[in-house]
Symmetry: C2
Subunit: 401 residues, 2 copies
DNA sequence: CTATTAATTCAAATGAATTGAATATTCAAG
DNA sequence: CTTGAATATTCAATTCATTTGAATTAATAG
């Protein structure tokens, strides 16, 4: 039971201004993935004329998004002036709201963190959260003077699912007092910058696209270990949110009919086997309490046998789930990340027994089927910022060649 | 092991012509979903000016896509001229290629079938298939003279998965001699019309959008009972194909770890419980052979107890799967259809025990969670045609409101 | 040293949407 | 019954971004 998410997608007409915006994004996106790169080359990639690209690149350069990195002699003809994205040409704020704390990060166009913080929350009602968000924003701006006038917006990450659905109110994750609140609008008004609202898994997935292992991927899935277990999906460069913004509720997919009883009422939910909650419960049985990622990291480094047992068991439904994701989404790769130590994620990936019967089990593939993504407690906050950057970088029209 | 599918999506720039094309599609799509409707109303929906909409509608009318259905007095002001799509303003061909036969349909803009046929195939090597496709095309044109000059293209449906993947060569469904063949290009050259290549489930899903239960839906999933079991996914009006065109391999999702052994090597694939293959095998145990949809229909009408037992059992993993689909894709609805009799589909839907723990189990929903779609042996062929129509009707830019 | 190749820029043209004014038709008020 | 407000549509001129075609710059090949 959380705030409503407005995911109404409206079909709209296009005009010269939209065209311009779109082309700017196309050019920026192509420079990002091909940098350093010249105008003529971008023209070839984009299908635009060199003249158009030239105009756009001049504009982007004078606005500080791109930098000229000198000419590159490559055969005959006039050597092309090479351009690259100007890392500090713009910044974005990412704010993750959890029930008892807020995590925030200020990130630049290259995904580098310029500021990060954690603030405790006495309460998570809208007024308090919004006031805290403003304070954080101010603090970030003060500590990074360079960011002045370069703020693209804020990506706010809140626990899903959104709206009043069968999985709402499953305890720990819910925020109070947000029912029926238009969170994006309230935050936008208070912070005075564009605001994007998103769930943790999707935010994390986009981080990987902006600055991570998915930089060159257009279609991939991100399994996010948060409080529960989420799936962020990107297909053809587009984020998949679902009709009501609740796509990717991976934790409550049933992997073992008649298995463990889950808080949602189903039996055999993946979350009861493979998630932070699951590992906490498992370790609890042996009198070990886990408070954060650090605890897990230490236990793993100490080769705690109970933890190893858990991993061995957790990897079985996880392998099955990855096979399912592959067959349903046919991604270029599946990424694992979130609030799990890198070492454990790496270990899990090594132990996976990926099913042969999968469309991702293809001859001649070079990319591994499963990759490790960003992890740590800042992941979701960074993802919020990444979403904002993604929005300025990625165009919305994608046409088949 | 089937032909390669070119699903490379390229980011391209926009220009005046693309803008025009896009806006034409926007207008056509909005007229379709709101017909009968006036110019000013479309302007409001689309965000375009009335002048632009007026120009586009005039053009579409003179090209025969739209028809003026008279003025409608609705309060003050000049009564708006109402427009509707001209059902016979354009037609599309749908061709399904199966190992031993080809099914074809000629369909108009409203999704009405103007011609349908079945042709046996001695062999399914490219040359034979392509020659047959040309013959069918000619036959269709001859039998529907009205179609002359109105052919938008052909949608060719072939069994997936495409490429050399872990699920290839699972027997009955494979076509021979198509390895590495650029099927779309070959067909396009031979048929001399634009060709879209697609798998059965996706094609069926699009049928529902063009003329079925999904006319007003932007995000939905279609569970297709074909030889195997496929999932067609549409999110925000966009077809989800996956990175290699193989998204939606629902049949090989594991619903019961350690369960039935599947031809793909996995254990507990959904296909071994809920599919045409599964019902055939089940009935075979009792000496009943099933050759087509008709056989199933008769058995069901006769209340065959073995068939009823199968349905009872099949519905359990199906319910679980629908829950999974809901949680992963968050669709407005899940549609069931394909090579299963309506009566059986309806019965299955009635018997479903949909999980409570699903993001689709939302308060105040009006649409049922599961709908029955088109069925019958022509479904996939009709879907091919629907894809072509969808392509002319649906714009590719979708922006958030 | 000259011809060729390639990148970039300059200037004018094009195409589609927008803007603003004008016209047509109905409803409602006096 | 007349007049004014509301609504739909059209006409004409303008705007905006891209395209087109010619000119300029700079490197390599011969």
């Amino acid at each position: 039971m959380c705030m409503e998410r407005n995911t109404t997608h409206k079909i709209v007409g296009s005009n010269a201004e939209r065209t311009r915006l779109h082309n700017r994004q196309v050019v920026l996106g192509l420079v990002r993935t091909h940098q350093p790169v010249g105008r003529a080359e971008i023209a070839r990639y984009s299908g635009l004329t060199t003249q158009t690209v030239s105009n756009i690149i001049s504009a982007l350069e004078s606005q500080g998004y791109l930098v000229d990195v000198g000419r590159q002699v490559r055969g005959r003809g006039l050597p092309a002036s090479q351009y690259a994205v100007n890392a500090n040409g713009a910044v974005a704020m990412g704010i993750e709201v959890r029930p008892s704390a807020m995590f925030a990060a200020l990130v630049n166009l290259s995904g580098e963190t310029l500021y990060a913080s954690r603030h405790a929350l006495e309460s998570n009602v809208p007024d308090i959260v919004i006031r805290m968000a403003c304070a954080i924003m101010k603090e970030a701006k003060d500590s990074v003077p360079m960011a002045a006038g370069k703020m693209l917006g804020a990506g706010v990450v809140m626990p899903g699912p959104f709206g009043d659905v069968g999985l709402s109110g499953l305890g720990q994750s819910a925020l109070q007092g947000w029912e029926g609140v238009d969170a994006a609008a309230r935050l936008e008004a208070a912070l005075n910058v564009p605001v994007i609202l998103e769930n943790d898994a999707t935010a994390a997935a986009v981080t990987e696209h902006v600055s991570g292992v998915a930089t060159d991927l257009g279609s991939y899935c991100y399994i996010y270990f948060g409080t529960g277990l989420g799936l962020g999906v990107v297909t053809d460069g587009k984020i998949m949110r679902g009709a009501f913004g609740n796509a990717g509720e991976l934790g409550h997919v049933v992997v073992k009919p008649g298995g463990n009883l889950c808080a949602c009422g189903n039996r055999g939910c993946l979350e009861t086997y493979t998630s932070r909650l699951a590992v906490q419960q498992h370790m609890g049985k042996f009198g070990v309490t886990i408070d954060g990622v650090d605890d897990l990291e230490n236990l793993f480094a100490a080769k705690n046998p109970h933890l190893e047992t858990w991993i061995e068991q957790a990897v079985i439904p996880l392998s099955q789930t990855i096979g399912m994701i592959e067959n349903l989404f046919d991604p270029q790769a599946v990424i694992l990340g979130g609030a799990m130590p890198d070492a454990i994620l790496d270990d899990m990936i090594e132990r996976l027994i990926l099913p042969e019967g999968s469309v991702s089990n293809r001859l001649g593939r070079t990319l591994p089927r499963v990759l490790r993504g960003a992890s740590g407690r800042m992941t979701a906050a960074l993802g919020g910022a990444a979403l904002v950057i993604h929005d300025t970088i990625t165009p919305r029209i994608v046409a088949r060649s």
